[in-house]
Symmetry: C2
Subunit: 210 residues, 2 copies
Amino acid sequence: MLRLHDYWRSSAAYRVRIALNLKGVAYEAIRIDLLGGAQGQAANRSVNAQGLVPSLVLDDGTALTQSLAILGWLDDAYPEPLLWPRDPIAKARASARALVVVADVHPLNNLRVLGRLEAQFGADADAKKGWYRHWVELGLAALEEMADGAGPFLSGDAPDVSDVCLVPQLFNARRFDVDLTPYPKLVAADVAANALPAFQAAHPDRVRPD
Amino acid sequence: MLRLHDYWRSSAAYRVRIALNLKGVAYEAIRIDLLGGAQGQAANRSVNAQGLVPSLVLDDGTALTQSLAILGWLDDAYPEPLLWPRDPIAKARASARALVVVADVHPLNNLRVLGRLEAQFGADADAKKGWYRHWVELGLAALEEMADGAGPFLSGDAPDVSDVCLVPQLFNARRFDVDLTPYPKLVAADVAANALPAFQAAHPDRVRPD
């Protein structure tokens, strides 16, 4: 069975949980406690050179890292339903939307970066929140413009890879009290996604340890 | 003819120039002066909702954004040579290496982020350099472990998408005086890449305005 090195509140791990659920692929979750530093210990580093989550370990021991690379592999291995459309332009647009989150919002705002702001610049909670909001608001405003089709999802009537990345980002943004009313298309996609069992079962509150 | 919204020193634009050259695809460069703020003006925003570079505008006016999404489209439209291998595992590994740069190093260290550190935290040049080195050293150390095959490139004897992302990152790291001696595989890939005309012609010094 596939093993997912997972942390309940990691946005990147949450993306992979959603994708596994959408495709109906069973997996065993290996819990890596980020707050306790387990990501940097040997058991996790042996599958993830960056010392991060998520990693997906296949039956033969092959370990895949980087959430977007894992989603791509899942599309190859379990094509129903596809997260990326086959049409090259639509596929590139879906990738671009996903990368707004994966490359330009989330990396600036995750635990290790907020920790570094505190360590290097003495950033307090308010300063970290200001930093967080600056980047998330820039990214979400762009993403709102980049939605295709008539909704409710970002490319039409079914979730694609960008919806899979959006939902964890909005969950995260709410934790930082970001006002989402300027982004009605994103909120509509999030509502539609969270009505689906695959998204529900991946939600941090559902996988959080007791 | 394809039009590339380009800036000579942008790592992300440099990736796309390399890929276009590797595939022998002619393009017209539209220069967007990042230091002068042209990325945020209407002519660039009309093709790039994020107000960033690069964007690739196709003959019919379709605009593609996010460098890694553009590289994916180029593989679909001009498959020779492929930047991503066909084998799903090898493809996922190439994507993961590329994403170490695209998602976990470069977004933390680009012009807008260093500017924000100065604006929000009063970071001076030394503090920005310390921030830069912290993230680039973490990423490069992981990437060194993630190389596959016997070299000189990151997956063997030809450049893949991760080499296309590596070369601009190392160019950038040298500007910040990062010591690259701990990363012999990365340096070997960079040397091999920079011996190829496609990489040479994409180099910032070759496309820099007079």
